[in-house]
C-alpha cells in the first residue's frame, strides 16, 4: 500500500515521500494520532548535529515518541481501533545479556530508520503495546520518554547498593521531572531532591521532597545516589557537583545527552569508590512496565499532563514546520502534534 512519509531532507525542510507497505508482511498498520517532539528530533531539525551525521542520516522521517490506533492487522493480534503506543527500537537479534536497546544491530525510528512521521506506521506486533482505552493520548504520546526513565530507574534498582535514603536528581527539564516522579513512585520512602537552575521550573516538582537551585545547595548536603538529567553544555557542571556531593560507594546514573566529550573528576570517583552507569533508550519490557504503571497509578498520568506545553493540530507540511518552530520557543514541557495528515 502506498504510504506517505514526511521526511526531513535538510535542516528546517520537510518533504513528502512515498513507500510501498506490504499488507501481508506480518506488520500491523498503525495510524499515528499524537506525536511528541524530542530534543533529538530538534537537533536534526535545527541542524545542530555534526554535518557528517546529518549527511548520513537525512532524508529521514523524525519522531520516535508517539501513539496511534490500529488501522489494519493481518496478524490478528490487535482489534482495529485499539489505542497503542509504538516502540521505536527495532531489534534484529536477541542476546541473553545485552538488552535490545544496547544491541548495535538494532534500528531506531527517527535515528537509523524512518520515525513515526508517516501516514501509517508498519510495525511488528511486538513493537506495540495496548494502552488503556480512556487514556489521555496527549500524555501517552511521550510514553517513550517515560520508558527511558523507567529503564534507567529499573537498572538503578538492580545496580545501586541498598541504602537509598536520599537520591539527588540534577536537571529541571522534562527528563528530570519524569525520572524524579518515577523514583518517588518506585522508592516512596526515599527522599528525592531535585537540583536545577530555574526556580519557576523547580516549583513544578511538587512530588519531590526537596528542590534546590544548583548555586544554593545547603552546606552539608549529601546523598546516597544521583541521576544526571542535564545533558548538553550543562553536563560537566552537573556531573562535577554530583561527584562532590555524593557519598562513597554511591551510584551515578547518567541520562543527559551531550554532543561533546565531558571531562570528569576521576580522582574523586576513585577515592569515593563510585559507580557510574549510562542509560539510553528503552525496550519492550520498559514500555510494558510504563503502561502497567499508568494502569495501576493513574495519578502518574495527571503529573505527566503538567508537561504538556504546546499542542498543535498538524495536517500539512506547513503545520509540521510550525510545530517544530513552536517547540524551539517553548521554555518547558513537551510539544504534542495531533497528527491529522
Amino acid at each position: 500500500m502506498l504510504n506517505t512519509v514526511y521526511r526531513l531532507v535538510a535542516p528546517r525542510r520537510f518533504e513528502i515521500a512515498f513507500t510501498d507497505v506490504n499488507l501481508f508482511g506480518g506488520e500491523v498498520l498503525v495510524r499515528p494520532t499524537h506525536l511528541s517532539i524530542c530534543n533529538a528530533d530538534q537537533r536534526y531539525y535545527q541542524g545542530t548535529r555534526d554535518a557528517a551525521v546529518l549527511a548520513e542520516k537525512l532524508p529521514m522521517a523524525l519522531i520516535h515518541e508517539g501513539v496511534g490506533e490500529v488501522a489494519y492487522d493481518p496478524t490478528n493480534t490487535f482489534a482495529v481501533g485499539t489505542k497503542v503506543v509504538m516502540i521505536p527500537n527495532r531489534p534484529v537479534e536477541t542476546d541473553p545479556i545485552i538488552p535490545e536497546n544496547y544491541l548495535r544491530s538494532s534500528k531506531f525510528g527517527g535515528s537509523s530508520c524512518d520515525g513515526f512521521l508517516q501516514e501509517y506506521v508498519a510495525l511488528k506486533p511486538d513493537r506495540l503495546i495496548e494502552l488503556p482505552h480512556d487514556i489521555n493520548m496527549n500524555v501517552a504520546a511521550f510514553t517513550e520518554l517515560v520508558s527511558v526513565s523507567m529503564h534507567a530507574v529499573s537498572r538503578f534498582a538492580r545496580i545501586a547498593h541498598a541504602r537509598r535514603e536520599t537520591i539527588g536528581v540534577w536537571g529541571d527539564g522534562n527528563l528530570s521531572y519524569i525520572t524524579s516522579l518515577l523514583l518517588k513512585k518506585t522508592f516512596p520512602n526515599t527522599k528525592i531532591c531535585v537540583f536545577g537552575i530555574v526556580r519557576e521550573k523547580l516549583a513544578d516538582f511538587t512530588f519531590a521532597d526537596e528542590t534546590y537551585l544548583t548555586n544554593e545547595i545547603p552546606e552539608g548536603f549529601t546523598m546516597d545516589h544521583a541521576f544526571e538529567c542535564v545533558g548538553g553544555n550543562g553536563s560537566p557542571i552537573a556531573i562535577g557537583q554530583i561527584i562532590d556531593y555524593i557519598k562513597p560507594e554511591g551510584t551515578i546514573s547518567i541520562l543527559g545527552v551531550s554532543e561533546y566529550p565531558v571531562q570528569i573528576n576521576t580522582r574523586m570517583i576513585l577515592e569515593k569508590g563510585l559507580r557510574m552507569f549510562g542509560s539510553s533508550r528503552s525496550g519492550y519490557d520498559d514500555f510494558l512496565r510504563t503502561v502497567t504503571l499508568y494502569r495501576e497509578n493513574p495519578e502518574v498520568l495527571d503529573y505527566l499532563s503538567n508537561l504538556i506545553g504546546v499542542q498543535m493540530t498538524v495536517r500539512t507540511v506547513k503545520d509540521l514546520t510550525e510545530a517544530f518552530e513552536a517547540d524551539t520557543r517553548k521554555m518547558f514541557g513537551k510539544t504534542i502534534m495531533k497528527w491529522e495528515e
Binding site: 500500500m1 521526511r7 512515498f18 488501522a71 530508520c113
Partner: protein, 237 residues
C-alpha cells in the same frame, strides 16, 4: 454503513498507445488499481468496497484482487455503467439490493487511477458526507483559470482565489443522490457528468474536503512517469 466505490470504468483513451485501461497499468510491478484499493481496504470505516469496471475486465479485476489482497468478501467487483453517473448508480443499486438504503448509507466514490489518496482525505470525506450529505475533494487552484466559450477568445478570467481544482473522492448520502439523479430529465443526465454538480445545481450544499497536490489522477503517460518516480519501493529501515 459506509461504502467505498471505486470507479474503474475508463478505457484509457488519453493514455497514448496503451492497450490496457490505465487503471491496470503497473507502477513498480503492481497495478495502479491495487494501490488505490489497498488505501480503501485498510480503512476500517468502509464496510465494503465496490469496484465498478467494464464487463470485459471484471474477471481480470477479481483475479488481481485475489492475487494482491487474498480471498476477501470486503471487495466486490461489478459492472460499471455507460457514464460516470450511471456507474455510481450501479453501485447504489448493488448496495440497495444487498444491504438496503437508508439515510446513513454513505458512498465514497473515487477514481481508480488516484492511488495517492490519503487516510485523512478518506476520513474527512466520510465525516463531511455524514454531516453535509455531500462533499468534494479539491485543492486550491495554483494556475489562473481562463474561460473561453469558443476556444479562441477569452470570455472570462475568474478570481483565482475562489477557484479550486476537483479531485476525488466525492462522497454522498446514497439515498439522496439516487433521488436527485432520478428526478433529472434524460437531457440533464447527459449534460451533468459530475455527481457533485448535480447536487449543486439542485441547490444542495456540497462541502469541500482539502485534497493534496500529490493526489494525482494518472491520465497521461507523463502522470505514470511521475507516479513511478514518486514511489520508492522500499521504506527506509
Amino acid at each position: 454503513m459506509v461504502f467505498g466505490v471505486i470507479l474503474a470504468g475508463g478505457i484509457g483513451s488519453r493514455m497514448g498507445n496503451v492497450e490496457k485501461p490505465k487503471q491496470y497499468l503497473t507502477i513498480h510491478n503492481k497495478p495502479i488499481i491495487i494501490y488505490t484499493l489497498e488505501k480503501f481496504f485498510t480503512n476500517a470505516q468502509l464496510e465494503k468496497i465496490i469496484v465498478l469496471c467494464p464487463n470485459a475486465w471484471i474477471a481480470h479485476t477479481k483475479n488481481l484482487v485475489r492475487r494482491y489482497l487474498g480471498e476477501t468478501d470486503r471487495i466486490v467487483v461489478i459492472e460499471g455503467g455507460a457514464t460516470r453517473n450511471e456507474t455510481i448508480m450501479n453501485s447504489i443499486s448493488y448496495i440497495e439490493e444487498h444491504y438496503g438504503l437508508d439515510d446513513d448509507t454513505i458512498i465514497v466514490t473515487h477514481d481508480s487511477v488516484r492511488p495517492f489518496v490519503t487516510h485523512r482525505i478518506i476520513d474527512e470525506n466520510i465525516r463531511f458526507a455524514q454531516e453535509y450529505d455531500a462533499c468534494d475533494t479539491v485543492i486550491s487552484a495554483t494556475d489562473t483559470i481562463v474561460e473561453s466559450v469558443d476556444g479562441k477568445i477569452i470570455s472570462d478570467i475568474p478570481d483565482r482565489r475562489k477557484m479550486y481544482q476537483g479531485q476525488t473522492p466525492q462522497s454522498f448520502k446514497a439515498l439522496k443522490l439516487k433521488e436527485i439523479y432520478q428526478a433529472l430529465t434524460n437531457e440533464e443526465k447527459e449534460i451533468l457528468t459530475d455527481a457533485a454538480k448535480i447536487f449543486v445545481l439542485k441547490g444542495q450544499k456540497v462541502h469541500l474536503v482539502e485534497g493534496e497536490t500529490f493526489n494525482i489522477k494518472i491520465t497521461y503517460p507523463y502522470d505514470l512517469q511521475v507516479a513511478h518516480s514518486l514511489l520508492e519501493v522500499n521504506g527506509k529501515c
